[in-house]
């Protein structure tokens, strides 16, 4: 039985150690590249299985919406809204600053039917995971009635801010929600909801709400229409 010279054996052992270390590094790099869910073999749990999240002043989200809602059973109102974080917004530890606008127009001859306010604060929650076309989330938009050019109901007196709560529950707009309240507290991230009126609205009648963690870059998916109730003359 032949024997290898001693220095050749040492050389071979060193080489194999180096290759082993290299393999370990490549494995770590690959694991870091894979998302957590892939690496852990998770599957989409659906809406029911979503992790519990909360509205946060720090959540980065873009909120858009347009449609109609019934503030009360006898009135239809149109709404349009936008909310996003300003440039330089760097969580955590923010005060919930936001940009955007809330338009709300009751289609009835009644006092206080117009709302046109800039959004100044926002709290948001992105569903985890989102489904379909980035569906799933909730947001509170706070509009400033004291801003220049803002329009808010004058009754009851002393309204200084508007609180809009929206939910994105589907790509189609089905079960999406829009609620609006009028508050005597000035607009702030820590708005005291005890100073707000009862919420008007609820499940939207037509249209949809979209809450996304980032711009989608122009996805071309089309929603399935939410049919409005057929109103007879």
């Amino acid at each position: 039985m032949g024997r290898m010279p001693e220095h050749a054996v040492l050389k071979r052992v060193t080489r194999w150690r180096m290759l082993g270390a290299l393999a370990a590094v490549v494995t770590v790099a690959a694991a870091a590249t894979l998302s957590g869910s892939v690496a852990q073999g998770r599957v989409d749990p659906g809406i029911e299985g979503r992790a519990v999240t909360v509205l946060s002043v720090d959540t980065i989200a873009i909120v858009t919406g347009g449609g109609t809602v019934e503030p009360d059973p006898t009135v239809v109102a149109s709404f349009g809204l936008n909310g996003k974080r300003p440039a330089g917004f760097t969580p955590p530890g923010t005060n919930g600053a936001a940009l955007g606008r809330i338009n709300f127009d009751k289609h009835a001859q009644m006092a206080g039917r117009h709302v046109n306010v800039p959004v100044t604060f926002m709290t948001a929650e992105i569903a985890n995971p989102q489904t379909g076309n980035q569906t799933g989330g909730k947001a509170q938009l706070i509009g400033d009635c004291q801003a220049t050019g803002a329009e808010c109901p004058s009754s009851p007196p002393g309204i200084k801010s508007v609180l809009v709560y929206v939910e994105d529950n589907s790509d189609t707009g089905a079960n999406d929600k829009f609620q609006i309240q009028f508050c005597t507290d000035p607009a702030s991230a820590s708005l005291n909801q005890a100073t707000c009126s009862l919420a008007e609205g609820g499940q939207i009648r037509t249209g949809q709400i979209q809450i996304r963690p980032s711009p989608s870059g122009g996805t071309t998916m089309a929603p399935t229409h939410v049919a409005a109730p057929r109103l007879q003359p």
């Binding site: 290299l22 149109s78 127009d105 289609h107 707009g173 049919a227 409005a228």
Partner: protein, 164 residues
């Protein structure tokens, strides 16, 4: 020599692993900043003679929320409902529901939004989806082009269309 090469490769691999593992918080904030937003809600009355698919149009409402990036891509929603009367005199509500995917601001202060839409004629037939949508919205009114057909302009008599 082989040892040196392996050592250099080993060091580079460690650097690569660290770079991949670090989160990219900086891009997160920058990614959400768009250049302009378009918000609107309102109503209007069509001039006499306005019609679409043999429906004589009377009036309509709309709701818009869209955010436009510097590249022209956009995210948002448009919803419009037009009321009218069919040839046999029945009231009909036409509903257009759209996803905005790109947009441009126009010199006259209006904005052109592009996307896809679903059209519900409100006559009991199933809504038609996947139709191209072009919206021109401004302070004076809203014009929709659905599936290549331009609907009469809805003059805005109430509400707002704000491009800021």
């Amino acid at each position: 020599m082989t040892k040196r090469t392996l050592s250099a490769f080993f060091a580079a691999s460690i650097l690569l692993a660290v770079a991949l593992a670090l989160p990219s918080h900086g891009n997160q904030a920058a990614a959400v900043v768009g250049n302009s937003i378009v918000t609107g809600a309102g109503a209007g009355v069509f001039p006499a003679g306005a019609s679409f698919n043999s429906i004589e149009l009377a009036g309509g409402t709309f709701g818009i929320g869209a955010q436009i990036s510097s590249t022209g891509s956009a995210d948002g929603t448009l919803e419009a409902q037009f009321t009218g009367t069919s040839l046999i005199g029945l009231s009909q509500w036409i509903t257009i529901n759209g996803w905005i995917t790109s947009a441009t601001s126009n010199p006259d202060g209006s904005v052109t939004l592009n996307g896809t839409s679903t059209l519900d004629m409100g006559d009991g037939t199933p809504p038609t989806g996947g139709l191209t949508l072009v919206v021109n919205a401004g302070p004076t009114g809203v014009t929709l082009t659905v599936g290549g057909t331009t609907l009469p302009t809805l003059p805005k008599s109430d509400g707002w269309v704000i491009n800021e």
